[in-house]
Amino acid sequence: MEKEKTNVMHSTDIPSRRTSQKSDPVLSGENLSRQVSGNRIWSKINIHLNPGERLALTGSSGSGKSLLLRTLAGLDVIDSGPSGEYGSINFEGKSLHEWEMPQYRTKVSYISQHPAFFDETVEANFKRVFHLKVHQNRQYDREKILAWLEQLPLPAITTDNTGGGDYSEFLQRPAKDLSGGEAQIAALLRVLQLEPQVLLLDEPTASQDTELTRFSEKLLENWQTGLLENQPDSSNASIQRAWIWVSHNPEQLRRMCHNTFCLDTDNGN
């Protein structure tokens, strides 16, 4: 049985959204099925993410939200469905099979709820990414990251003794010393510096208090609207930016998303 995509009410109005409503989806999954040790988690679902769309992915625990994000990120093999057929994933009009996976994954980025870091400073972790072959033409830009952080509402991730605002201290901290919530912010920054098109956010603020959550939400909102690079809505690239957001907090999803895709409809077949 196909899953229903329901539009939920949204109070915020982002102009870029309406212009992209009719266009082809930037990322779509057709007929996706998944089973884990013999149990069908979901069957033949169709999910579409339009350019500029902020899609909430909901469902009870165990409904396979993370599995769906991982599948869309190309981290997991696409399972066959109940009658043996394989689903497909398309991004920017090209089938997943036509994409080089490293290239694809820098455009469609999955962010784990419990991000991993190497045992070195936050900044070294940021730099390390640029050693990967797929990023060899890019360069780490410390000033850019500091500028992003300075736009944000509160110096929530700096230590108090500096009086706030000194984000370079954050970059120098050993990644192992970050709290769970700070690590989630560091993971966001690590991905955003690679200029992704789609973010697959797996409970991106689950380990954060209200203050850090506000910080993260603002960071992501600024990224999505292009404000991060001071190009609000004027750049085509930013209008395309979209996310799928998994959260157990309905308030947050109402704040941060336009539409909802629910994995919880009956699982009968």
Partner: protein, 266 residues
């Protein structure tokens, strides 16, 4: 060369076996509960070695190429099964991968030693092939099982790190590189350590055996040096091969980590 070699009679072996009475006695007095195991172990050891002696005598006398290579292949198979047996995880092609690695590594270094260094004609002359192959297999087996165990273990333990790299655009090789390096280092360090203390802490078995057989220590040492090089390179080659094959089995061409192919022994 064999002037002062002493042939051991069955009676002399029986006298040697009296020493096991010490172990069994200690176990009984101190209630270690090992008396039975010592007896079984001794009997197994005697049985297995006598059997190998007979078998090798027979193969030596027969001097038939297919039998020689057949026995060598059999030893290799047993070594590859033993190497996997010491690990805690399995994937479907693990035995095949172990066999390919041990076969490739052992035969390469043994062939190199026999035909390139010792220049024996034919290279599979059993008097040289079996002692060399035996030593190489034993060490390669260790290297392979250490490397496999470490690689499979760190794939599950460091899964988050590997998938973090993959989702940041790493190729599967880039994502697994640290783990591969770590597994190879782990497998090579015992060989390296034993090389470091060779002759100081330990007098290797082959050299000791040659000296007992009447070869002068200065001569025996030369053989031992060659042997250490052969053994070390066999172990390193085998470990590298097996880790690369395991890497290929546990990642696919879509740069996905296939951890569900890996299952724990329970």
């Amino acid at each position: 060369m064999e002037t002062n070699y002493i042939f051991l009679t069955t009676g002399q072996l029986l006298i040697a076996s009296v020493l096991m009475a010490v172990n069994i006695g200690l176990s009984l007095i101190l209630k270690l509960g090992l008396a039975k195991q010592w007896s079984i172990g001794s009997l197994r050891m005697v049985g297995q070695l006598l059997l190998v002696g007979f078998l090798l005598d027979w193969v030596f006398a027969l001097n038939n190429t297919s039998w020689i290579l057949g026995v060598a292949l059999f030893m290799t198979t047993i070594a590859s099964i033993t190497a996997v047996g010491r690990t805690q995880k399995r994937f479907s092609t693990i035995y095949l991968n172990s066999f390919i690695s041990i076969l490739g590594a052992a035969f390469f270094v043994v062939f190199f030693a026999l035909s390139g260094i010792l220049q024996i004609d034919p290279w599979y002359s059993p008097q040289y092939l079996f002692p060399l192959l035996g030593m190489v297999l034993g060490n390669t087996l260790n290297g392979i099982s250490l490397a496999l165990e470490r690689f499979m273990d760190s794939l599950s333990v460091r899964r988050k790190e590997v998938e973090m790299l993959l989702s940041l655009g790493a190729t599967s090789w880039e994502a697994a590189h640290d783990l591969i390096r770590d597994a190879l280092r782990t497998s090579m360090i015992p060989t390296l350590n034993s090389m470091m203390v060779m002759g100081i802490v330990s007098l290797p078995g082959m050299m000791t055996g040659q000296i007992l057989a009447g070869v002068s220590p200065g001569e025996a040492v030369r053989y031992q040096i060659m042997m250490i090089f052969v053994i070390a390179s066999g172990a390193a080659l085998g470990a590298t091969l097996v880790v690369v094959l395991a890497f290929r089995a546990l990642f696919n061409s879509r740069h996905q980590l296939l951890l569900k192919r890996l299952r724990d022994l329970s």
